[in-house]
């Protein structure tokens, strides 16, 4: 089955990295096929930014996301742009502190994960994307938790492994709590 995931926010939030980690987890540690593509403006920080992942047991022809099964948004702009375009009964993860204004959405499972706040509590706002990945695994079950953790360790700068794993676990825990709530 083909699963389409879209991560969106602004440059500097680690949006593209989130996609790379997710796709690497699928293809190197979970024996599936995966492709990650991206779109960003010429500016390195602050511009709109999205990162897309397609995961499938079969060979992946079209590498881009058409209508996502899972949408992870971390900015108001990204929310406004993409929240209206999701598969029926798709899953939407959003950071409520980054998205003060919400619209009415039908047939979408919405989960609010204050990833930026959780990351700040851990001491580094920069790991908000990894917190979100933890929640993503807990809430969607698209990928195995250990596969994602391995991909994180392989893709984050040396010396930051502990912080990133902590961020991942916090996000995972938050996601699990949302499910049981």
């Amino acid at each position: 089955m083909r699963v389409e995931i879209r991560f969106a926010g602004f440059g500097g939030q680690g949006i593209i990295k989130s996609g790379i980690i997710t796709a690497a987890a699928a293809c190197l540690y979970a024996q599936k096929n995966a492709v990650q593509t991206q779109s960003y403006g010429p500016e390195s920080r602050g511009g709109a930014c999205k990162s897309e992942v397609v995961i499938s047991e079969e060979e992946i022809d079209f590498p881009k996301v058409d209508i996502p099964d899972v949408l992870v948004v971390m900015s108001q702009h990204a929310y406004n742009e993409y929240a209206g375009n999701m598969k029926e009964n798709g899953t939407l993860l959003l950071d409520p502190d980054m998205i003060p204004v919400e619209m009415e959405l039908k047939n979408v499972k919405i989960f609010k994960v204050p990833a930026t706040k959780i990351a700040e509590d851990l001491g580094r706002k920069i790991v908000a994307n990894i917190v979100m990945l933890g929640a993503f695994v807990a809430l969607t079950g698209v990928l195995d938790k250990d596969a994602l953790k391995e991909a994180i360790l392989a893709n984050v700068p040396k010396g930051t492994e502990e912080l990133n794993v902590k961020a991942f676990e916090k996000g995972y825990e938050y996601g699990k709590n949302l499910l049981s709530a």
Binding site: A24, I60, D66
Partner: protein, 383 residues
């Protein structure tokens, strides 16, 4: 910091630019001169780290004109050499690409196509340099251009580009696009002894008898390196087999320029590569290359599932254009569909060889390639 001198092998999750850079290293490239430009920057970035690990040279030049000149010089000194750029830089390189053609310099030029004209859309894809690749420099010549459609091919076709350039003493172009360059996919890199690597023919005559532009049966002259002890003269002017300028001789001009074309034209069957799927009985054939081919194949499968006899033909070699293969598919088909991320470039070649078979062109510009549904609809309209 530890130095890793080993070639990358096995399964990795890479982007297309990095896969291309690793392909160059694996092919034996030991000289890169370039000027970073989106979406080809990661090739330069990666090679700036990797080249020194292999005793190779990475040099950032003042611009693309100088980059191409340095690549030619390095190749003449005996190193496999390359540069990587995108549209605006590719335009600047054209004059010296012509010099590389005229001096029969093996080298690889990677052009990661983005939206043009001019500086256009730096971070978005395009297929707008296809005709420039063929006709960008002045004068008559033939050149080789390959179009990868996956990260795996960004690796393997880079190796192939070096092999072809060494075989035919011609610049070989790798025409990628922003999507294949920036997307991440699994790449499986074979061990070095499983990789076919071609090196240029060396002279097998004593120095006094060596004529640097005297071709052998395959139209390609063996190539000594500067400083190896062979007398060697090279010029952009029309030259005889010794390499000396012959600017007034009609005969030398005809002999040289025809051979520069013939060494590609008469070896076309050895050079051209296509991928064909389900074309044997196809009523509709989709001819598509690069990233768009991925959508095209998906659309063809969709059409087959809907009972339409659709086929897929992907030119891997854009230049020389796979005339025979396209003509053969066209002769059987009722219609040909050509989706491209430009306003109509390779479609002109398809129309030229399709003769009376109608050709339906599907243009797309901007961020995304054609979706499989868009191409599927065009297949249905064609029937």
């Amino acid at each position: 910091m530890s130095i890793k001198r080993s070639l990358l092998t096995g399964a990795h999750f890479l982007n297309g630019d990095v896969a291309c850079a690793e392909g160059a290293i694996a092919a034996g490239c030991r000289f890169f001169a370039g000027y970073p430009i989106t979406p080809a920057t990661e090739i330069a970035e990666h090679l700036s780290e990797r080249m020194p690990e292999f005793g190779g040279i990475y040099i950032q030049m003042e611009d693309e004109i100088a980059s191409m000149a340095a690549v030619i010089g390095a190749s003449y000194a005996g190193l496999k050499s390359m540069t990587a750029t995108s549209g605006p830089g590719f335009s600047l390189m054209q004059e010296n690409i012509g010099l590389a053609v005229m001096t029969e310099t093996p080298c690889v030029v990677v052009d990661i196509m983005r939206g043009g004209p001019s500086t256009g859309q730096p971070t978005l894809p395009g297929q707008q340099d296809v005709m420039q690749a063929k006709w960008g420099s002045h004068g008559d010549y033939e050149i080789i251009a390959l179009a990868p459609c996956s990260v795996q091919e960004m690796f393997s076709l880079t190796v192939e580009a070096f092999n072809l350039s060494e075989t035919y003493r011609v610049p070989v172009l790798l025409l990628g696009d922003e999507i294949v360059a920036h997307m991440y996919e699994k790449v499986v890199i074979p061990p070095p002894d499983k990789l076919r690597i071609v090196n240029r023919k060396k002279p097998h005559v004593p120095s006094k008898d060596y004529q640097p532009f005297m071709p052998e049966e395959d139209f390609v002259p063996p190539m000594a390196s500067f400083g190896e002890g062979y007398r060697f003269h090279a010029t952009g002017l029309t030259h005889d087999e010794h390499g000396y300028p012959k600017t007034q001789s009609s005969e030398v001009q005809a002999r040289l320029v025809r051979r520069l074309c013939d060494k590609i034209r008469r070896n076309v069957d050895k050079i051209v590569r296509v991928e064909e799927i389900m074309t044997e009985d196809a009523d509709v054939v989709v001819v598509s290359y690069g990233i768009v081919a991925r959508s095209a194949l998906s659309a063809v499968r969709k059409a087959r599932a809907a009972g339409i006899k659709a086929g897929f033909l992907r030119p891997i070699t854009l230049w020389p254009f796979p005339e025979k293969q396209v003509a053969k598919a066209a002769a059987r088909a009722k219609v040909i569909v050509v989706p491209e991320m430009n306003c109509g470039q390779l479609v002109r070649e398809v129309e030229r060889v399709a003769k009376s078979t109608p050709v339906s062109f599907l243009s797309k510009l901007g961020e995304d390639p054609h979706t499989p549904t868009e191409i599927f609809e065009a297949i249905k309209r064609g029937i």
